[in-house]
């Protein structure tokens, strides 16, 4: 593997947040907050730069650490999917950071608070970990990235210090640790069988030893536990619903995507030579079950934040519909390209929509002092922007045209028909209807005249603004011409010569 120009961009996108996270500890809460805010434009610029370099060059951007090339050394490799995720992470983290200032900010002269001390470095840690998880090209470096992600996400879950969230955090930690060790076991087997952990080199080797197959099975189970695909989703609803709104947004939008991208790299990079259509059908079957059961749970849920969390369980299901489509057709075919784009756009548009939805839910819960859906009457009058944000994000999740969610679902639908697997198309359509059901429940309740409409608490307009901004992005993604999604095709491992 050769280093390419502009390789320093993804490297800095990983290392600067790491440096900021480490430095934040001695700086203390107040200066850590300022440092985070100062990092936002830099991180966004690096992500845009990487995306431009990938798009213009038409090839992945590679940085060889210490000039050592794999297999001995380590490489950062930003392909189109990685660039898209870098951009998503930079925007979502930026919005969440601005949103969180009201909850976790420290005023001049105020003593450091525990929550404020922890929040900013944890946010920076999530950022660096997700960037690392999409650009690192070595399976063990990716293990460290996954651990970084877990160690940052777990304390975010129980930042409020209540017993309920602590229990949710413990359950999450146990699932995540089990997932990590299964993944690590796979790493050991792959090294033993192939003598390298570099994904690109492994993809060229097209290994088919039993040890590698077993490794992929173990790693897949481990990563599914971290991605929370049904039936390994049990930890997600209490963890994502219990966390503070800003943290929930990051957890649902970004953290689960790290392990998902890694799963794609394993299945369609390392194992590109060995299509596993049977196993892929099982994964998509679990995905379909997640869409169905997650949506039904969301329909029946009485609490707003839990509803949004169950919606995440359902939307994760869509991500797995691309597996059998990619596994059953030639890697360089049109159908494969559509399925790949569909999955990638689903990951990205869900990130924006879900972050917007959690932030909106957080604003409502803060204003009402509770998040019981039936008692949200009057929200439409008292906080129209918030409800609009929720609605726009909901449109994208449903897949109503024109929105990012529509683009994703339409691509998946066409790919399913193109691959002759029409049953997954039915799942996509049915899932959209169910999503519409639970989004409608919230909107209908919010638009009712409420006798107990709360006095407007002084909540900064920036909070509504960033939430609305994220929702708008999730919709606007659908206005992009399809060619714009060509970015995520650049450097797809399975189609490399």
């Amino acid at each position: 593997m050769q280093a390419t120009g502009w390789g320093a961009l993804p490297m800095l996108a990983v290392m600067l947040p790491v440096l900021a996270m480490v430095v934040a500890l001695p700086l203390g809460a107040r200066r850590a907050e300022r440092l985070t805010l100062a990092m936002l434009p830099a991180g966004l610029a690096l992500a845009i730069g990487t995306a431009v370099a990938v798009q213009v060059g038409g090839a992945p951007v590679v940085h060889l650490l210490g000039h050592w090339s794999p297999p001995l050394g380590l490489a950062f490799r930003a392909d189109g999917l990685a660039a898209a995720m870098l951009l998503t992470a930079a925007v979502v983290i930026g919005a969440v950071a601005i949103f969180a200032r009201a909850d976790f900010g420290t005023k001049a002269g105020q003593p450091e608070r525990r929550e404020a001390f922890a929040f900013w470095p944890l946010l920076l840690a999530v950022w660096s970990a997700i960037n690392l998880a999409v650009v690192a090209n070595d399976l063990f470096t990716l293990y460290v990235a996954l651990e970084l992600l877990t160690f940052a996400a777990m304390p975010l879950v129980c930042l409020d210090g209540s017993r309920t969230t602590m229990e949710a955090a413990l359950r999450y930690l146990m699932f995540a640790l089990l997932g990590s060790v299964l993944y690590l076991l796979g790493v050991a087997l792959i090294y033993g069988a192939c003598g390298t952990l570099d994904i690109t080199l492994l993809a060229r080797m097209a290994p088919d030893q039993p040890a590698v197959i077993l490794a992929i099975v173990l790693m897949t189970v481990g990563l599914l536990a971290k991605t929370a695909l049904l039936p390994l989703h049990l930890w997600l609803p209490p963890a994502h619903a219990g966390a503070p709104a800003a943290a929930s947004a990051v957890l649902s939008a970004l953290v689960i995507k790290g392990s998902f991208v890694l799963l794609l790299r394993l299945w369609f990079g390392v194992m590109a030579g060995q299509p596993m259509p049977g196993a892929a059908q099982i994964l998509a079957g679990l995905g379909a079950a997640a869409i169905l059961l997650g949506s039904v749970a969301a329909l029946r849920e009485a609490r707003l934040k839990l509803l949004v969390a169950y919606s995440t369980v359902a939307q994760i299901g869509y991500l797995f519909l691309m597996f059998p489509l990619l596994a059953s057709v030639a890697a360089d075919s049109q159908v494969a390209a559509m399925a790949w784009s569909g999955g990638a756009v689903q990951a990205v548009s869900h990130a924006f929509a879900k972050a917007a939805m959690f932030l909106a839910a957080g604003i409502m819960a803060a204003r009402f002092g509770h998040d019981r859906i039936v008692e949200l009457g009057g929200a439409g009058r008292a906080m129209p922007v918030t409800l609009l944000t929720f609605g726009l994000a909901g449109l994208s999740l449903m897949g109503v045209p024109p929105s990012g969610g529509f683009a994703a679902k339409w691509l998946l639908l066409s790919a399913a028909i193109g691959a002759g697997q029409w049953w997954w198309a039915l799942v996509v359509l049915g899932g959209g209807l169910l999503t519409g059901g639970y989004v409608y429940r919230v909107l209908a309740s919010g638009l009712r005249a409420g006798e107990g409409a709360p006095d407007p608490a002084p909540i900064a307009w920036q909070r509504d603004g960033v939430a609305l901004g994220l929702a708008v992005i999730s919709v606007v993604l659908g206005f992009l011409p399809l060619a714009a999604f060509g970015l995520v095709q650049v450097g797809r491992l399975g189609v490399l010569p």
């Binding site: 650490l65 000039h67 001995l72 930042l159 210090g161 033993g192 039993p210 040890a211």
Partner: protein
């Protein structure tokens, strides 16, 4: 051969005992034995660096941590968080785990022959780093990024553990206050051992460039030399608000990242050391990193700040 079989049988027995023990205290005691026996296995596998780390961290620090947890939880340590699975489910899980172990064993037996290895490449590239210990070369040069990220993980763990502090104690000293034991044997040990331990740690760090040893092992010993007086009630840890303490935790990782970024600026690649500078730079990073990791490991064992700790 027979020695290996006996050792393996002993390790498996101790592990089973630890996992199935009825009382948490027994389980932890067996777990410490497990860690120590495992480090013997590492010696047999010709990995002295790992053997030292396993004994120091896997058995030593983890043992102290878990024993402390069992003591502080008291009866809670044995209390189930939820209902144990029924007999049938337990049997099914057992069959499943046995299946995983069998598949894994088969996969290991069928690993390709000759084994793929990077040893020749490491041996060929090692002279450019000026180091004699191949493991240190991998950790600090070829896969320096992993080590750097791992140092960041340790800092993050400190932040995460502190974030679990109960309300009311923010800024105070970490960990529960330890009873002062006065003139007992522990006190004697806590006074006599640290000077020796510090010398040993410095030695292990220093030879680590060329012989088995290095920063993790040295850091674990240093951390133990701080924990011992703490456990004896002789040393009160500083308040977590203390700037120097926070600086100490991050100094090593910061230096590592700054050197890495300087490499990117000067040599065109993150963590590229200029020719001839590799060994002195690596040694400097290792010294500072050892101190930082030692402080961080000790803080991790002590736990989050407590409201009843001395302010």
């Amino acid at each position: 051969m027979i020695a290996d079989l006996l050792l393996a049988a002993a390790i498996a027995a101790v592990a089973t005992g630890s996992v199935l023990a009825r009382r948490a205290f027994t389980a932890v005691a067996l777990f410490i034995a497990y860690g120590l026996l495992l480090s013997l296995a590492w010696v047999r596998l010709a990995a002295p660096d790992v053997a030292m780390t396993e004994a120091a961290i896997g058995a030593g620090l983890s043992g102290v941590l878990l024993l402390g947890a069992v003591r502080r939880l008291g009866p809670h340590a044995d209390a189930p968080a939820n209902l144990p699975p029924g007999l049938l489910l337990t049997a099914l899980i057992g069959i499943g785990c046995a299946g995983v172990a069998a598949a894994l064993g088969a996969a290991i037996l069928w690993l390709p022959e000759p084994a793929p290895t990077l040893a020749p490449q490491v041996a060929a590239a090692l002279p450019t780093t000026g180091l004699g210990n191949a493991v240190t070369g991998v950790l600090m040069s070829f896969r320096g990024l992993d080590t750097l990220l791992e140092a960041a993980v340790v800092v993050l763990a400190v932040i995460a553990v502190w974030s679990l502090a109960p309300d009311g104690g923010w800024g105070s000293a970490p960990g529960a206050r330890q009873p002062v034991v006065g003139r007992g044997p522990l006190s004697l040990l806590a006074r006599m051992l640290p000077p020796i331990g510090i010398v040993v740690a410095a030695h292990i760090l220093w030879v680590g460039a060329d012989a088995p040893g290095g920063k993790f092992q040295a850091a674990a010993i240093l951390a133990a030399m701080w924990l011992l007086p703490w456990l004896a009630g002789l040393a009160t840890p500083p308040r977590i608000a203390a700037p120097w303490l926070r600086m100490a935790v991050v100094a090593g990782p910061v230096l590592f990242i700054v050197v890495g970024l300087a490499g990117a600026a000067v040599e065109g690649a993150f963590l590229a050391y200029p020719p001839g500078w590799a060994k002195p730079l690596i040694k400097s990073i290792e010294v500072v990193l050892t101190a930082s990791i030692a402080v961080a490991l000790a803080l991790l064992v002590m736990g989050p700040p407590e409201p009843d700790a001395p302010r």
